[in-house]
Structures are given as C-alpha cells and as structure tokens.
Symmetry: D2
Subunit: 443 residues, 4 copies
C-alpha cells in the first residue's frame, strides 16, 4: 500500500442528477449533511513502535453516504440483490435496508431478489427473480436466514453478465464473503469490457470477521452472543460432573475472532484454540497435560475451539479429506475423541461434553446491535450505487461507514494477531499458557 | 485543544518494578506484547470539509495496556473500588475484571469495595468496606446492578482523602459518570497536595453515552437492546388498536444516543425526539399535526422520546421543578397527556399506550458484547493504576483502549450532532420531518 | 351446580357428514382417535374435608376434539374470527390455529377476520373483514398483538347478528374475556331466535386467569415470565441502593394469579399484594411498619402488587375516578407515593423504584408453552364448531381439552383462594405476615 | 391397580410435634390451611369409552403439603440432598427450595449436600458433603446444572445406609430419575430392616417426562422452549437452501414427549419421529419417499427426532453397541447419513443441516414456569419428610401436589399414546402420514 490512490473507488460516470434526499450541504444549519467526495477516513489510527507518525495519513478510505448529485435516474433503475454462501445473522436486515432505501428514499420501483446466490443467474436453473418492495421485506429482519435463499457456486461470470443484460438490471448488490466478492469483481470487469453501465456494490458477509477493512462484520456480534450460550452450557456441564470438561466448537475457518471474543465475553473459557496460534496435544506444555493440571486445580475445564484451529494436528494423523486439503477436518470431534481417550488411558474418572452450536448461531436473527448495523450498511450500499460507484464494498472502519475497493478488501484475510491486545486479553482471561507447545519457551 | 500534550497522563513516578505478566516486548516473536509509552491512537480519523489533513495527527491519546515496568509493588497495594450514581448494565463486570486482574495477574491481595458510592467514605455513615477477591466476584457479571451498592452524593473531597489515608489505600478505581469523575479529579489534586502516592483511575459510566472520548460507553449496547423490547411492545400495541399510538421514553438527559440507536435497531419508530433537536407540538410541522398525518396514512404510530428532549416545551408550560431547572420534568407523561388530549379534542377514536422501561433497562445484566467490553475496561484500568498513572480514565477510542486525562473527558458533553451520519440515518429510518417546527423551512 | 346436565353443550343439529380427518374410532389400532360424545372430564378431582367422595363424579365437562361426524359441509362454511378487549400473548397463535385447522384439516376456504373486535361488525365503522388463509397467518404466531386489531365496545347484539347474516357467516370464533363471551352468549340467543344455523364458539382470553373452568388461560404463562423480568429489575435496584425498595405493579383486576405465580417463580418478592387479600398501610402489622422491619433486617425489599389490590385503601382516601367505582384507581402510583412519603417522614435515607411493565407484558409474543396451548385451543375450537356446537367455550381442564357452556364459565370469576395451597406457598416464599392488618390475630 | 390402598404412603411413626407453620385448620377463616391426611386427588379424571364412571374414584393419590403435626423435631434433623444422573433444568431450584423450607419454615439447621450423586456416599471416594444454608443457595436457581454435582452409579445400598448412619442423617432427599428412585426404595427397605428412623423422599427428575403419576416433570417445559430454538434454526436453514432440510435430535430415550410438545409449540416440524411410533425409511410411505414429496411440494422440510426413535432401524443395520442393546445408537447421525445419501443417490441438489442441542437444553437454567414448579416441589418434599413420610415421591397430578409411593411410580414408564389427543394434534400439526410405513393402511 503505497498511497491513498489505491483506495479510490471506480465510478460509472459523472453524477448530474440532484439527489431526492432532503439534506443540506451547509455545515452549521442543523440539517443533516450530504457526504462529499473529499471526505476520508484514515486507515491506520495508531502510531509509535516503528510506525511513522508522519506517514499515517497517507492511507485513507472514502467516506460512504448519500451524495448531493447521483448518477442514476431512479425511474430507470432495476436493482438486483443476491445473497451467497452460508447463513449469517443479519442477511434479511441488509436486504430490507437496500429495498427500503431504494424505494422510499430514491423512489426506485424495480427491485428483484436473485434466488439461491449466483445460482439464480444460471439460465439452466430456471429460477425467476423474486420481486421486492417495502411490504415484502417489512418484517423479515426479525427472521434469521435469507428470504432469497442462498447457495454456493454459480460463479460463471459470463452467464451472470448475460443475465444482468437480459434482466435489464443496472445495479447489483452482492451480499457474500470473499469468494462472492471476488466473483463480483470479475463481473465488474466483464461489465466494463462490454461497455455497460451496471453498478456492482458488495456488502461483505463473513460471520468469522475475517475480511480486511471492516471493524466488525455484520452478524459477528450476534454470533458471539449465541456462542456465549453454548459456552455457558459447557461450563455448567463441566462444573456439574467429576473432572468435568466442556468442549465447544465455533465458526472460524481461518480466523479465531469468534472464539477470542466469546472467551472475553464469558470469562468461563480455560483454553481458547484458534487457527492463528498452533498448539500440540502431547508434551508438558501440550493441551492434554495442561488439562490435567487444570482439573487437578479446579475440577473442571472449558475448551473453546475455532473450527480452523489445529489443522496441522489433523494432517499429522492423516485425517484429511479425499478431495484435497481445502475442506477442514473436524477439529471438534477430533479433540473430543483424543481427550476422552487420554483420560481413559491415564485412568481418570473424567467426562467431556461436546457442543457444536454452529447452525444455531448462523440461523439466528440479528441482535439489535447487528440490526442497526445491517440497516446502515444496506442504506450506504444504496447511496454508493445510486452515485454510480462500482467494484466496491461498503463497510464500517474506525466507526465511520466507508467505501472500499473490492480489490483491496479481498486480497488478504483478516486474522487475530497473536501479539495484539485482543489476544493478550484472551490469554489473561483464560490464564492458559502463551503457547500450548513444548518447543517455544515461555518467558 | 491546541496540542497532543494535553493528552499526556499524570504519573505518580518512575516505573522500576518488572511486571509479573508473561508478555514480550519484541515484535514478531508471536508472544503478546506489552504496550510502550510512545504508542498513541489518533483522536480524529476523518478529514476533508475544512478539516486539515496535515494537522490530523496532532491530537492523540495514549494507548492503554500492561507496561513492562510498573510503579507499585503488588505486595504493598491496597486497592479500593467505588461505584457511584445510577445503575448501568455492566457495573459488576467492571468490578469483577478489576479484582481478577489485580489478584490473578499482579498478585495484589488487598482489595476493598466501598459501599454505596462516595457515601461509603463518609465516616458518619459507618459503612465498612467489603473485602473483595476472585471468589466473591466469580459470578457477579451475570447479575445486574452493583454488589457494592451505589448512591449519589458523598463527594466531600477532604473526607474522601482522609478515608483513603486511614484505609491505607494507594489505588482507587472510580466507576461513575462525569460528576463522579470530576470529584475524582479533585481527589487527585488533594492527594497531590498532601504528597501522597495514590493512583486514582476512573472507568467512565454513562448509559446515555454522553461522555467525550469514548466510542461507546459500557452498558450502552445493552440499553439499546432492552429499549428495543419496549419499542417493539409499543409497536405491537399501536398496530393492534384503531389509530393506535405507542410512546416510549428512554434514558438520555442531555444526549439522544439511546433513542437514535434504538430507532435504527428497530425500524419501528416514526418519531424520534432527542434533546439535541428541539421540536414543537403545534403548527403544521409540529408533532401533533404530523402524528395525524401518519395515522391517516398508516393507522398507527410509534414515538420514541429521550428523557431530556423537549425540555423547552415543559418550561414553556411552567412545569419546572421547585429547586430550579436542574431536575428534568417528565417529557414522557407530558407528551402522553398532550397527545391524548389532542386527539380527544379533534374527535378521533385514537389510543396511546405509554411505556417507561428505564429501570428495567438500567438493572439488566450486560449482554455479551458489553461483558467483553467491561472485562477489557477493568483490566486496562488496572494496568494503568499499576503503572502509577492517575487523574485519568480508561476508555475505548477508535477501537483501541486508551488512557484519557480526566480533565479532557469531563469538560464537555458528547451529543448527537444533527448534521452527522447517525442523525441522518435516523431521519431516513423514521421518515420524520427534518425539523418538527414551523419556523425552519424544510429543504 | 346440581347435576352434570348443566354442562351439556348446545348443538345446531345432528351431525351427519363424515369428518375428513384420517382418524379411527377403534381403540388399540395405533391410530389416533376421534372423540365421542360420551367422553367426559371430571370437574372436581380432590376429596376429603367435607367433600363427599361419592358425589365427585356428578359434575363433568364434555371432552373437546374432532368428531367422526360433523354438522357443517366444509364447502359451505364461512367462518369469522374476532379478537376483543386488551392484548394478551397468544392472540395471533389462536387465530393461526383456527385458520390452519379450518383450511388444512377440514377444507374450509372462506375465513374472514373481523377488524377491531365487535366494533368491526358495526356498519357505521365501514371496516371490511380481512380475508384469512394459511399464507396470511403463516408467521403471525411469532408476533405479539393481534393482526385483526382489537378494541372494546361494539357489543350491539342486533347489529352483530345482522352483520353475520349479511356476511353469510355460519361460524363465529370469539376470542375475548368474560364481557366478550357474555355478548357472544346473547348473540347465540339472538341467532336462535331468528332460527339461524350459526355456531358461536368462544376462546376465553384473560391474561389475569380469572375465568372459571380453565386450568390456566392462554398468555398467562408468558405474562408470568415477563413479570419475572420486571421483578428481577426491581430486586436489582433494591439491592443496589441504601434501604432500597422495588415496587412492581402487574395485571390482575380481580384476581391475583399473576402476582402469586410471579412471586413463586422469582423468590425475590417480600410482599405480594392481591385483590383477594385486603391489607392496611398503618398499624403494627400494616405494610409500612412491616417494610421498616424488613429493611432493618435485610436492607432491601421488593413489593409486587396486582392492579386490583388495595382498592379499599384508595376509596378510603377519596381517590376514586369521576365516572364511579368501576375504573380502578392506580394502586401502584398510590403505594409509590405513600411509601416514599413515609420514609421521608420518619427520616430514613431510603429509595423506591417503581416499575409498571403491563404493556410490555401484554404485547409480548407467546412463549413456546403458550404457543403450544394456543395451537391446541384453536384446533379444538374448530372441531367444536364443525360439529355444530354453539354457545360454548373451549378450554383446558384437568389437563384435558373440554367444551364448556359459556353460561357456566361467565357467571362467576376465578380468584385466588387465601386458604389454598397456592396462596400458602406464596406466604412461605415471601415470609410476609398472613394478614397485613392489625385486626386479625396471627396464629 | 386394584384399590386406592396401593397409594398409601409409608410412615416412620405418629406425628406428635406441632408444626411451626402459622397456618390454620379451619375452613373459612381466610388463613391458609394445613393439609389433612384424608385429602386425596383422583388418579383418573376422564370417563366414557369403556371406562366405568362408577369406579373412577377408586384410585386416588394423597395430597401433599404441610401437616399440622410433624414427626421430626426440627432441632434433631440432619437432612441430606443428593442429585443423580444427567442434568435437567431446575435441579438447583429444587435444592434451593428444600434448603429454604427446612431452614426458614421448620428451623432445621443441619443440611448437607451429597457430592456427585450416590457416588458421594461411597467411602472410597472421600467426598465430604457440602454444608448448605439459605446463603449458599441464595442465587443458585438462576444457574443451570447442580451445585452438588451429579453422576451415575454409586448405588450400593449397604454403603449408602452405612453412610447415612455415620453422618447421623435422618432425612434424605433424592433428586433423580427412575434408576435413582428404585435405588432410593431399596435404601428405604434397608433402613427399615435396620430399624432406623430415616425418611427418604424423592423428587422425580426426568427431562423426558417419562415417569408415571406426574403431570409434567420439572425441566420439561424449559426443555421444550430450548428445543424450539433448535427447531427454529433448522427451519431457517431449511428455508434458505435449495431443497433444504433441517434435522433436529432431542432427548427422549423411551418417550417422545419433548419431540411432540416441541412440534406443537413451533408449527415448523414436518416429520416428528418418536420411540412409540415405529417408522421405516424405504417404501412409498417410508420417510425418504415422503421427504421427496414434501420437498416437491414446499422446497424445504424439518424433521424432529427423539433420541430413542427408530431404534429398530439401527438394529436392522447392525449398528448396536458392543456392550449389548442398553445404549442407544445415534439415530440423529444415522438419519443424517441416510437422508443425505438418498438424495445424492437420486441426483437431487439437496442439503441437510443436522442440529443436536441436547447439552444446551440440559444445562440451561429453568424458565419461570419451571422455577415456580421446582420451588413448590421442594417445599412439598420437605413437608412430607418432616411428617415422617418415606419411600415416596412428591409430584404434581391433575394440578395438585401429591405424595406418590415410589413403588407405584417406578414400575412402569410414561409414554406418548399414539391414540391420544396429544399425538393426534401432532399429526394434524405436521400433516405427516399417520404411519411412515407401508404395511399399515392409512384410512
């Protein structure tokens, strides 16, 4: 990242049409303001420790929000919305906000929901889009899931753009994870190649919170609250049994944010295992021996594991899947078996209860905090698209809503930094060894 | 604010004692890091619109967290904790985090809870401090309220410092609002005057979120979720009656953040009234006429009012309290009466249900998001005090934990800016007129 | 009640049409059974203490459920549903069950919802009925309130029967309290007078649980869970203040069931005040003196009062309403003022927090237990109506669903018997004096 | 069951000591009453259909509650409480009620909690009992699990009675399922053999609701509410996917009550599978073909299976466990695999999400309805024990609390009767075929 030019958003053309929104552009008149193109949010807000104070303002993100002039004539807009990949709390809230902002604030009257992700664009599936209006979406934010249906696959860029042309769509909102947004980027390029004026604006969806340039992804907060219930149950089971252990697996394929936040939210976790911090089972500092020590000291233990943690252990035991190493082996079941066997082997009267709440988390409705967030994300996505912005994602960064070039957001994953205050606080909360391994010396 | 020197934190002296925490000071060793004194968080992260990009880094806040060297010898510490003012979700979570961090991470063994706010320091009340340890606080975060009790008053600085001396306390954690922290600041000055080495570290408590230099105050998130339940009930009552109206009063004496966030979280509010945006009852753009229009259009309406809104109306009707204008008159009851009377006067068959959920909000337990926040606030307050910092508050700013000089935080209130994206999004969500008044022309 | 003949249900005529339901009439074939007309549920199940064992089986209620032969040809049915009076959790659940059972089990295709209670029948209101089918009611059980709207009034029997004739309705489901059902009874009589074949079946709605011949009314269970939240908040407020008191008012105009059950569910209540047990404020055994004692002993106190309790006190102070004594004066506000004043008078530093959660209780969605109950009540109401039964209510009695003649159910209120095990257990839970009065000697 | 003599409760001797409870024995004095020994609750309350009206009063259960005269001198009582087997919501509530009633109402001062079920009596385990008083149990009802710990095993009758003698206990409360109560019965017999005066009173614990003579077991209501959450998640997952299916496994080894009630509470279940109603996978009426039909019709399906359902299928495939047939094979995983494979085999693009919420259900805190129930069960258990009753269980039957001879309660299981109104209503709710099998003809 060498300059803030990287963060410039692609545009379909000049904005000439006055926005129908009743806002002002004058500071101090007590009337809510439009956002101007020269408003930015700094990317990095901390300095010290080798980071240069002078260069801190070089990187900045464009501020999201309604523009005084827009690109599209609302009467000519046909907008499409698509939800891709696994469920995440808040999907319906985002759909609802997009529909309501388009309809009620801009006066757009043609809005279509694409069924089952990009698959809904594939002509062979013969899936008609679902017409959307404020009545259809009125109460959907109180339900989990997505009324459009979701699926993986269907990312055939040519067919998608063909379909956009056939449907005469000039605006597409893609709600999905990095795969979805990467495909959306290719769609943008194909659109450009064909010389079309179609805005593609993404709303990043990742319950794992593993996308860059997002303070916290929508649904993440809800996921942590639901995970807390599972950890609480594991704690109760553990405390009620002799040498009782509770093991909970939560989502987090490549990033342990849900596990880390849940640990801090509950204070009941004794071992938090995440993909970013490898661990071992055997040895004096290994998980099994540390579990023994914990039981000796306190009679019970709670282990929280992110689904992507300890994959190196599973490989070691040969438990990879047939089709390669993409698919994660199940660390939860693996640990359940290993730990149970270990205590049987050493002759302890111990018991372990294993809880996998993943689907109950994914499918739950958004909590009020996420509802608010989804409402604002959806509205800001519409503001961007109406202004002809494309190839971008809408996001919250440093507590401001921003427009992020899709290319920037998907080129790298967001992960828990083991040297960060977040992980430090997790270590303090669990009092687990800094590394559950023998080869690294604890300080 | 003329320079970042204002943000420098007072210190009791040089830190010479090595921290017992097992962290490192080396970047890249995969071991969580201590925080250094040269780490800062920018105050302002947006630019454009008259704000100068070059000057943006001038103001910065000290990063909170454990230091490699500390000021106090843990064996000599006697720490006190006091909770003042009204209840707020998360009080027990902060108490718990302070106790656990002192005890388990630093090895401090003398921790006392002061009963019922500063009143507990007054010798005439004969209230013995409550001894605190990890067992006492083990489950308290699952309960609302504060195990120490809380009260207003007792802010006699001389008597407080006398009591600190008598109790031989060298560390005081003050959990309370701006009044509490202002008193704490005077206590700090009296301590300095007497040449004592007592660290005073505040944890800002304001369910209204009206303190400066805080992203979001603890308990605020929980308050919004609980307020959502009340608004939901009001919405159900309104929709189930002919010309049904639901009126909900929420906390917010000088700042309408709870009302604004709840409006965005629920999407059910049609009129959001806050202290920062005056409104009128009468006239074509006044609340009563706008309510009629809403009922004509949709048969029902939901009004959400912050307790500090519309105080000018109450004064206008002479309804001030005996002791001057400090105490707020009850805008909820006032509106209930005025609206009910209005529809009776114009002969409509309408009904209004009034809900005041304030105590149910205040007394609720923290939700997981707030629990996490309280845990981290408490821990960082301890890190600051152990490092001999004083006259400061711990806070989260731009997603980082920071140490803020108390003086900076209490000299001004945080309020909803009517020209901000937050209020703009509220106006979009409610579709209420930008100003419920006749004298200002809508754009 | 001299014989079980009183419990016989009125019928519109002989049932000749085979039910479309796939049940059997043979015991032992493992196929669910139809209910026969000779199946009864005993009214009274306890004996001893002057009650004669021999006579216990004299009184019995007809068992509800699908009959093998029905009266109405489903193709000719036009069914109406009306919800009257105040909100109660579960209204939508009952509506939904009626619609689904009529449509899916019997094949009825004309179902209309009457808007805003009996008012919807009044021609001058010009309120068109709402067409109902399984799609319309699909998700309504997840919302509080009633999609039909509710209101008091409109009980003009002649106009109602006129409207039924005009709408060509031959089946009416009345969901409401004793006033509603009394009106329904008169409607039945007018129908009979005109020689019409219209079945009128009531589903008793009383969140106070004050109707006879009902184990527990729908919504009651949900009301108790919600009241528990308010009592919990009051308890937290009380414990967190010096001489803190929490006062909660719950519904219960003539019966203290919600207060009694909430007391037993929470274990936090110290004084439970209900309409059936008069109390006094003054005197050694009066509430005020007993509160002092409680505070002396335990520093905090929680008082739970049913809205109809202590009305004799309000009369004594002249605080009746203008239009006579029908409308209850507000015992909650009265007690709040009296108690606060008392402790001011005797110079105690005490505080009282008052919570009135009534609308939040009424408007909440049914909990799973009530959802199940509403689903079964609605289904059984349809079975009765299809079999041509009329002038009756469907209810659960001794854990079986029964058909009760409306006349029996509305001639008397259900109240808490101060000598019953329920009230005895409340006294044990609160440890309050058996009578909060001076003139009765405690044992 | 040939006469009501079977229901007579064993007694340790004559009650001569006046109860300290302030109740009266006079009807009509407005003071709560003691219960007399001649008060009974009828066992059966329905008649018709071959059941003889005349004989209905033959079988009756003794009414529970405080007696005017008690057997034990409270000053000489040493009471023990033990919790056995798996967790169930409400365990702590029962413990709390026993302790509070003994201490506060009867003045008993020696109460001990036995650790980890009967195992805590085994001398080789060296587990000291936990002293219990009102302070210890003050808040425990707000937590799931059991503060005493629970375990299976340890049912060595001789050692248990030895331990009772050594501890000088004369009262034992056994909270557990039918195994626990059968052991308690043998303990009673051994006590009698040794000529000791030790009362053994059971509180039946079965989250499956499979014990006789109980309207609804404690924790059952909570279990249904929690199972509803899982079914709701399954429904959301199913609706959001192409040919989406949700499969939920709930508790119910020999009785499908949780599955049946959850089905009625949610209205989202399309196939409810319980142990009492065998089903097949293959064939035109088999589950797989019926699933296809459902998906063709509605695109999604939800299946709820009790853990004990379809065991005959598992045996057929040889999937029994090594140690015999006692342990249930996992029907949830079995169905997940079979259904997934089936749709792969027939080439459908379908997906199934499997949820097993069992531990999250078991470990949850009791809901208000269950809290109330546990409070009353515990109190009534104490009343029975203080009156010297033994070899009995306390229970609710036909809405009254009763004392049931243990022998009667454990000789047979309670199951869902496929011909009962309950199962009939389930069939109506799911619209599933009466039997998922080919060999039985549907009507």
């Amino acid at each position: 990242m060498s300059s803030n030019f990287d963060f410039r958003i692609k545009s379909l053309g000049e904005c000439k049409i006055p926005s129908p929104m009743p806002f002002s552009n004058i500071k101090g008149d007590s009337i809510a303001n439009f956002v101007n193109e020269d408003q930015y949010v700094l990317h990095s807000v901390t300095y010290g420790e080798n980071r240069d104070k002078e260069n801190i303002h070089e990187f900045a993100l464009e501020m999201a929000g309604p523009r005084e002039k827009i690109f599209f004539n609302p009467g000519h807009v046909h907008a499409g919305i698509v939800t891709c990949g696994g469920l995440c709390p808040g999907l319906n809230g985002v759909i609802r906000a997009i529909v309501r902002t388009l309809w009620q604030r801009y006066g757009v009257r043609r809005i279509s929901g694409i069924r089952y992700g990009y698959v809904g664009f594939m002509p062979e599936e013969k899936l008609s889009p679902m017409p959307l209006d404020p009545d259809v979406v009125d109460d959907i934010h109180n339900m989990g899931g997505t009324i459009l249906g979701s699926a993986r696959g269907g990312s055939d860029v040519i067919k998608i753009v063909d379909a956009l042309e056939q449907l005469n769509m000039n605006m597409l909102f893609t709600i999905g994870g990095d795969g979805t947004q990467r495909c959306a980027l290719e769609v943008t390029e194909e659109i450009e190649k064909r010389g079309l004026k179609i805005a593609v604006v993404g709303i990043p969806k990742t319950v794992d919170n593993d996308l860059k340039f997002i303070d916290k992804s929508f649904g993440f907060d809800t996921a942590v609250s639901k995970a807390e219930t599972a950890v609480h149950a594991a704690h109760v089971e553990a405390k009620s049994a002799m040498n009782g252990m509770g093991l909970v697996k939560v989502m987090g394929r490549e990033a342990g944010f849900i596990a880390a936040h849940t640990t801090l939210a509950t204070s009941d976790v004794n071992f938090c295992l995440i993909p970013e911090v490898p661990f071992e089972l055997e040895g004096e500092n290994g998980l099994l021996r540390q579990l023994e020590k914990r039981l000796e000291r306190r009679d019970h233990a709670v282990i929280l594991v992110a689904e992507g943690a300890g994959q190196e252990l599973l490989k070691a035991t040969g438990e990879t899947d047939a089709s390669g190493n993409k698919k994660l082996a199940d660390i939860g079941v693996f640990l359940k078996d290993k730990i149970t066997q270990h205590f049987k082997d050493i002759g302890w009267n111990a018991s372990l209860k294993y809880i996998d709440p993943s689907y109950m988390i994914r499918a739950s409705r958004a909590n009020p905090n996420d509802s608010l967030y989804c409402a604002r994300l959806g509205a800001n996505a519409v503001h961007a698209a109406m202004a002809g912005k494309t190839g971008m994602l809408v996001s919250e960064w440093n507590n401001s809503f921003v427009n992020v070039p899709t290319q920037m957001a998907v080129h790298q994953k967001n992960q828990v930094d083991p040297e960060s205050p977040l992980w430090r606080d997790v270590l303090e909360a669990t009092q687990q060894p800094i590394v559950l391994k023998d080869d690294i010396k604890k300080k």
